[in-house]
């Protein structure tokens, strides 16, 4: 009885954990030598924060019943601006100190603020549907990035930041994961321990009721899209450190991946529902499956896309089956 209660309290997460355990057992039987190595887990951990950040920010937008399709655009814009600023301040061959790191984060936050404000105003004030508003902003950002770089990658800039954020703390915890965890804790706190979270869920469940109950919905939407923009821009910094270069079209498939993870993690596309724990579980699960599949030579990477689709549909169907009202007993 108790177990059942715990399960039903966080159904999405436990379901995903179940799938994860099955997958890990499967990998243990088939590829244990290549999968269960420290290096492999460190690589996997180092790879997910860049889109993980886009996911935990974008999840807030989805909880309002909206969506943020400008995450990749913001990320690339932030990383390009950082690289260009570093070149301007320190020279292409120069070096930068810790002040430079702080500057990078400040730039990312500013990009996030500007993009989030634009998205938020378009959605809340101009009443443009979020899909179109954020898609438009994304195109605008990508276009600007292409113009700023001439379409080429920027790779000659001081690399201290990239080296610092590619390190593992104590050989165990990648710096990028630490950044991700800090962001995740902040957003978890906003969602679960402040009135913002309650308002967000209320607004997502029924926007009209929220409005008529006297809530400042414009402020709420602005805050949501700004948070998403900042998270995505910091994701851009992680990409900058990971690839030691910035380009307008890096990570172009992260938008779809992010949405997939959100929905899989139990965020309702209709708004109102979503938990940090579920989303993080989905994030880890997807990375485990993706890297695991690559251990099988005979399985093509195309199947990864196919499996994503299947997993997503399965999650949606399970969600429908488990939440539909039970038939009244005769």
């Amino acid at each position: 009885m108790n177990l059942k209660k715990i399960y039903s309290k966080n159904r999405e997460m436990y379901r995903l954990l179940g799938i994860m355990v099955l997958w890990l057992i499967f990998m243990a039987f088939t590829q244990s030598k290549k999968f269960y190595t420290g290096a492999n887990f460190l690589t996997m951990a180092g790879q997910f924060p860049e889109y993980g950040l886009m996911v935990i920010g974008g999840m807030l937008c989805m909880m309002t019943g909206g969506i943020d399709l400008s995450v990749v655009g913001s990320a690339n814009m932030a990383s390009i601006l950082c690289a260009l600023t570093a070149i301007r301040l320190y020279g292409a061959e120069g070096s930068m100190g810790a002040g430079g790191y702080i500057l990078f984060f400040v730039i990312a936050v500013i990009v996030g603020l500007v993009v989030g404000t634009a998205n938020g105003l378009l959605v809340a004030r101009v009443k443009v549907p979020p899909i179109l508003a954020t898609l438009g902003i994304n195109e605008l950002l990508t276009g600007l990035s292409v113009v700023m770089t001439g379409g080429a990658a920027i790779s000659k800039f001081p690399k201290e930041f990239c080296d610092a954020f590619s390190k593992n703390i104590g050989g165990l915890l990648p710096m990028r994961v630490l950044v991700f965890l800090i962001a995740a804790v902040v957003i978890w706190f906003m969602l679960e321990r402040t009135t913002y979270g309650t308002k967000l869920r209320l607004f997502g469940t029924n926007a009209h009721v929220a409005e008529f109950s006297g809530m400042n919905t414009t402020a709420l939407i602005l805050k949501t899209y700004i948070t998403s923009g900042i998270c995505a821009s910091i994701g851009g910094l992680m990409m900058l450190s990971s690839y030691a270069s910035a380009r307008a079209d890096y990570g172009s498939d992260y938008t779809m991946k992010a949405i997939l993870i959100m929905v899989l993690g139990g965020v309702s596309p209709n708004g109102g529902k979503g938990k940090m724990s579920g989303v993080i579980t989905a994030l880890v699960l997807l990375k485990l499956i993706e890297s695991g599949i690559r251990r099988f030579r005979s399985v093509s990477d195309y199947y990864v896309t196919l499996i994503w689709g299947a997993v997503l549909l399965l999650a949606l169907v399970l969600d429908y089956l488990s939440t539909r009202p039970k038939k009244a007993k005769a």
């Binding site: 290096a39 492999n40 996997m44 990971s242 690839y243 270069s245 380009r247 690559r294 195309y302």
Partner: protein, 344 residues
Amino acid sequence: MNKKMFSVLMSTVMAAGLAVSAYAAPADSESVKKAADEGWEIAVVPKDSTNPWFVRMKTGVDQFASETGVDCYQVDTGTIDAVAQAQQVKDLIAQGVDAICVVPVDIESMDSALKEAKDAGIVVIAHEGASLENVDYDIEAFSNEGYGAFIMQNLAEAMGEEGVYTTMVASLTNGSHNEWADAGVAYQKEHYPNMTLLEEMPRVESNDNGDDAYNKAKELIKAYPDLKGIMGTSSFDAPGVARAIQELGLTDQFFTSGTGMPADNAELLKSGVVKSLTLWDPAIAGEAMVDLACKVLAGEAIEAPVNLDVDGYTEMNWREGSETVLEGQGWITIDAENVDSFGF
């Protein structure tokens, strides 16, 4: 020993060496045998495994594996994406392969991933990535100057050595494509005084995509009535331009040449829309990469001319001023006559 005798002796030795090297099969090479015995794992990472070019490369790698018993294979990358490719290389590093052979999408992001590979003691062989820093060696089917000039010869022949032309590359950041285009332009300036490069648009991008090449060509033809030819570089450029030529009814008035796969372009060549295409065989390039990886793993000294045991790669020489880039003589012309003889 007098001078004459010495030179006769030398040339005999060299001829014998050539004869041996030209017919050497990878399976007979010492280092390849060792690689098979030791079970070294060699992974080949293409740009985009759905592209016919890299499908062909896979057949070469697979053939190498089945003929020699070396544990080599080409990974599937899905569609072209620099970040995804870099992540896949990092995955291979974590997996602990012995050598990685890579055809990079984007030099910059790949270089930082390859640094990790080198740090982990993995042998790195690149192809079409001459400006990569963190590699053991990069092999090119030919010198970029040689191939660029070769494409230009084909284009000039089709254009009757006169008229305005421009160049097309996959992207302005692509290493080899731009060098070919530069070399083609340089060759034209030297040898074809009646041809001129379109000043307003000296280089356009096709994004390694046939539709983009086709649309770009149509735009160019509309915007610049004087334009008479496009020099393509990626395997989608010339075929894409050819579609535009065909659709606008400009056969024998507008010309293109450049890299292209035979089977895909047989109709274009036979109908005369394109006079000739240029190529090297990606399957052989794949085999050459794996062969070189075996040599490096076996600790063999790499000294020019390097013999990689496959046609066109038996006499690899250093690119001028480089200690990592090896160049062969692997180019071929495809025209209406021989297009069906390649089997791919």
